[in-house]
């Protein structure tokens, strides 16, 4: 193999070289339309935008599809890992997260110099926003793009309240996102990705991105979050499938935080995706960007038909099984 002595290599030229190299030995495109060929993890065709799609990926859906099913599975002695870890999150609410929601409520009612706050339009205690989070992400006509919770908050706050510090990835934005999401606790997720339009386009793009192999390890999100990796140990943990879980985001993720973050341990869904990207040595997307929003649409639609659960307990702290 040739070795170059000079150590200064311009990354842009390097990428250009890679692109040329790639196109010289280009293979034919796949059925799912793409202008550039990408390697995909198998399984895209088995996804459906509804939580019941889990049946195409695991054999546990009947054990957690609603409260009765979870109760029956528990009575039958099934442990969390035998029901794809989708039991305890719907059973136990996080008590610590209440403090973060309190902080979010305070920000929601915080008045600017003109005496305006989020409550001025959205009602005291978010009266008019009850259930709204179950329909996010959605297409914002005026902005002309699909927005997720944090993006919508950023736009609303900067345009209408003059709050320039409530951008995505700030503490105020994160606790507000948590507060607004808590107003939708129990509401069933309903994202319409069946009708032709920007949401459906985002869903399909997000699905492709979820299954696209990227990064230094050449992993897709689906590499870990579909069988056979689901059900096996990866380091000390066992991953779960991607159905249903989006209905618990934003999640209170104490004690985890990415280095330098001061977000009250609130993990928005895109924050979680960024965390996964970092672990898998993939380039971390920017919160609110089109590609990250597309992945969020895909994940949220994969929870269609499932009730939101905010704030939920992140980890199963039920140790009763140890005493059996």
């Amino acid at each position: 193999m040739q070795r170059f002595n000079q150590s200064v290599i311009n990354p842009a030229e390097f990428v250009a070289a890679l692109l040329i190299a790639g196109s010289v030995t280009h293979a034919s495109a796949t059925d799912i339309a793409e202008t550039t060929q990408h390697d995909y993890w198998p399984g895209r065709d088995k996804t459906i935008p509804h939580v019941s799609g889990d049946t195409n990926f695991s054999d546990t859906y009947q054990d957690w599809k609603d409260a009765a099913a979870i109760a029956a599975a528990r009575a039958a002695g099934k442990a969390s890992h035998e029901v794809n870890f989708k039991d305890f999150r719907w059973l136990v609410k996080s008590l610590d997260a209440e403090l973060v929601i309190d902080e979010g409520r305070e920000v929601f009612h915080r008045q600017n110099a003109n005496g305006q706050s989020c409550a001025s339009c959205h009602g005291e205690n978010g009266e008019k926003l009850k259930g709204a989070y179950a329909n996010l992400p959605k297409f914002n006509e005026r902005l002309g793009r699909v927005v997720v919770g944090p993006s919508q908050i950023e736009v609303c706050a900067s345009e209408r309240l003059g709050q320039q510090d409530w951008r995505v990835d700030t503490r105020a934005n994160s606790v507000l996102d948590m507060y607004v999401a808590s107003l939708s606790d129990g509401h069933v997720v309903d994202i319409d990705v069946g009708t032709d339009g920007p949401l459906k386009t985002a869903y399909l793009k997000g699905r492709d991105l979820f299954f696209k192999r990227t990064g230094q390890f050449h992993y897709a999100c689906a590499s870990c979050h579909t069988p056979p990796t689901v059900g096996n140990y990866l380091r000390g943990q066992r991953p779960t499938t991607f159905f249903g879980d989006a209905s618990q985001y934003p999640i209170y993720h104490f004690p985890y935080a990415l280095p330098g973050d001061d977000l009250a341990h609130v993990f928005t869904l895109q924050h979680q995706i960024r965390s996964c990207q970092q672990l898998s040595r993939m380039h971390q997307g920017t919160e609110g960007s089109p590609s990250m929003t597309a992945i969020e649409v895909f994940l949220k639609a994969s929870a269609n038909g499932y009730p939101m659960s905010i704030p939920t307990q992140q980890y199963n702290l039920d140790t009763d099984y140890l005493e059996q």
């Binding site: 193999m1 040739q2 070795r3 170059f4 000079q6 150590s7 200064v8 290599i9 311009n10 990354p11 030229e13 390097f14 990428v15 250009a16 070289a17 890679l18 692109l19 040329i20 190299a21 790639g22 196109s23 010289v24 030995t25 280009h26 550039t36 060929q37 990408h38 390697d39 993890w41 198998p42 991105l209 696209k212 192999r213 990227t214 990064g215 230094q216 390890f217 050449h218 992993y219 590499s223 870990c224 056979p228 990796t229 096996n232 140990y233 990866l234 380091r235 990207q277 970092q278 040595r281 993939m282 380039h283 971390q284 997307g285 920017t286 960007s289 089109p290 590609s291 990250m292 992945i295």
Partner: protein
């Protein structure tokens, strides 16, 4: 300086066209190892050298890496202790995430390698598996340690010596 860079770029492009895969991986490995110390978090600036999710950045249009076929030449020599360290470190090889290893219980995504030596596969096979496992399984979950510039030549040799231990 500019002339040097132009020669560099020309060499890079020529090498890229004539021997696309191996030259590209080798250059990238050098670039990364200049700044990144194994055992520390991967530096974000290098992650745009691989395909990514972004719509805006060029990495979002990068094609998947071509499958690289390699063969093992010469005798197997390396540092087993260092190989063990590489295999256990989450920010280096992290083989333990998916495999059980000699003396260590690990993940179950991949087969156990605890008794690898007793199966005595050829060095060519082991080397290819680590370098680019897609020759054997196009949909494998295993990282492309060679093709994607994850491990250096001697790091791979160290790991091979480690897992060939009894």
């Amino acid at each position: 300086m500019m002339k040097k860079l132009k020669v560099m770029a020309l060499l890079a492009l020529t090498a890229a066209v004539l021997q696309p895969h191996l030259a590209a991986a080798d250059e990238r490995l050098q670039v990364i190892r200049e700044k990144w110390t194994p055992g520390t978090p991967m530096l974000t600036e290098f992650l745009t050298l691989y395909p990514c999710h972004s719509e805006e950045l060029p990495c979002g249009q990068l094609p998947p890496p071509e499958v690289q076929k390699v063969s093992f030449k010469g005798a197997l020599q390396g540092d087993a202790k260092r190989g063990e360290k590489i295999a256990l470190d989450v920010r280096w090889g992290n083989c333990i995430a998916c495999h059980s290893l000699p003396g260590h219980t690990g993940g179950t995504v991949g087969p156990s390698l605890a008794d690898y030596a007793s199966r005595a596969p050829s060095l060519d096979y082991t080397y290819q598996r680590i370098w680019d496992t897609r020759v054997f399984n196009p949909d494998a979950h295993m990282p492309l340690f060679g093709t994607n510039s994850v491990l250096t030549e001697d790091e791979i040799l160290d790991v091979m010596v480690f897992i060939h231990q009894h």
